[in-house]
C-alpha cells in the first residue's frame, strides 16, 4: 500500500493504516528529534507525543507536503511549546549532562566527538532547529518558515547568525587548543 492510500485510509479512521504510516516514518522522526534535542530518551518520548497529536490533527493534513515533513513540523512545534511551558530556558547543567552522555555514547562506539555538535547544542532551539532543517534535511527557507510559523526572512537570518556563532565557537576552540599547545611546549 502506498503512502497516499495509507493517508486516505487513516483519514477514514483506519487504525492499521495509521500504525503503518507511523511505523514507516518512526526512524526518520526519532532521528530528527535526536538532532534537535540531543537526547535519545527525550526524542523517543516526543515522537510518541507527536504521533498522538497526529491522530488528532490528521483531518488538517492536505497532502501537499510529504507525510514525514508534516510529522516533523508537528514535532518541532510540540518541542518548542514544551520548552516554553517548562520555562527551563537554558538549564546548562542539564544540557551539559545530556552532551556528556551523548559524547560518551559516541566515544564508546569509537567515534570522535564533533565540536560543531557542542557549538550547535549551545544555540537556542529557535536557531538550532532551522539550521538542522536547512543544512541537514535540505528544506527551503519558505518551508522551514511554514513549519515554525515564522517568515522566511527570519529563518534566513537565524540560520546565518547561528552558523556564524558556530564558526566563532569553533575558531575560539582552535585558538584555545593552540594556546594550550603553546603553553605545553614552553614548559
Amino acid at each position: 500500500m502506498e503512502e497516499k492510500d495509507l493517508i486516505v485510509s487513516a483519514k477514514l479512521g483506519d487504525q492499521l493504516a495509521f500504525a503503518m504510516l507511523f511505523k514507516n516514518n518512526y526512524p526518520f522522526l526519532v532521528k530528527y528529534l535526536i538532532k534537535i534535542t540531543m537526547n535519545p530518551d527525550a526524542a523517543e518520548e516526543l515522537a510518541q507525543e507527536t504521533m498522538a497529536k497526529c491522530v488528532e490533527k490528521i483531518g488538517l493534513f492536505n497532502g501537499k507536503s510529504k507525510f514525514s515533513s508534516w510529522l516533523i513540523s508537528i514535532a518541532t512545534n510540540l518541542y518548542i511549546d514544551q520548552k516554553r511551558k517548562s520555562k527551563r530556558e537554558r538549564n546548562w547543567k542539564a544540557q551539559e549532562e545530556v552532551f556528556r552522555r551523548m559524547k560518551w555514547h559516541l566515544e564508546s562506539r569509537n567515534e570522535e566527538w564533533n565540536d560543531a555538535l557542542s557549538a550547535l547544542g549551545k544555540l537556542k532551539d529557535e536557531i538550532r532547529i532551522p539550521i538542522v532543517l536547512k543544512h541537514y534535511y535540505g528544506y527551503s527557507y519558505e518551508e522551514i518558515g511554514k513549519m515554525m510559523n515564522i517568515s522566511s526572512g527570519t529563518v534566513k537570518s537565524r540560520v546565518h547568525n547561528g552558523i556564524m556563532s558556530v564558526r566563532e565557537e569553533l575558531k575560539l576552540h582552535g585558538e584555545q587548543e593552540s594556546a594550550a599547545a603553546g603553553t605545553r611546549s614552553s614548559r
Partner: protein, 116 residues
C-alpha cells in the same frame, strides 16, 4: 579597484570559513544519525498509540459536550425563571445587555477606524 579586490578576497575568505562551519555541522549530524541506534517497535505498539489517542479524544468530546449541555441548561433555566417569576428584572437585564453590546461594538469600531 585595488580595494575592491581586497574586499573580494576577504569576502571569499569569510565564505570559506562559513562553508567550513556548515560542513562541520553536517558531518557532526551525520555522525549522530549513523551512530545513535533507533529501535523501531512492532506494528502492535503503533496500533495501541492510535487506539489510546482515539479513546482519549472520545472521552474529551463527551466531557466537553456534557459541560456545554449543563451550562446551556443552567442559562435557559435562569432566563425562563426570570421571565415568569420576575419579569421586571428580565426586561431590565435585556436592556442592559443590549446597551452593553451596542456600546462595545461602537468603541471597537471607533478604535479600529482611529487605528488605521
Amino acid at each position: 579597484m585595488v580595494n575592491r579586490k581586497v574586499l573580494q578576497l576577504e569576502h571569499d575568505h569569510q565564505d570559506e570559513h562559513f562553508l567550513a562551519a556548515v560542513k562541520e555541522i553536517e558531518d557532526g549530524l551525520e555522525m549522530l544519525d549513523e551512530n545513535v541506534p533507533v529501535y523501531t517497535p512492532d506494528l502492535q505498539f503503533f496500533e495501541n498509540i492510535v487506539a489510546e489517542q482515539k479513546q482519549a479524544m472520545k472521552r474529551n468530546l463527551i466531557r466537553e459536550l456534557a459541560i456545554f449541555t449543563v451550562a446551556a441548561l443552567l442559562i435557559v433555566t435562569s432566563v425562563l425563571f426570570m421571565l415568569y417569576q420576575v419579569p421586571a428584572v428580565f426586561f431590565i437585564l435585556q436592556g442592559i445587555v443590549t446597551v452593553f453590546i451596542m456600546a462595545y461594538s461602537t468603541v471597537s469600531f471607533v478604535k479600529q477606524v482611529n487605528g488605521t
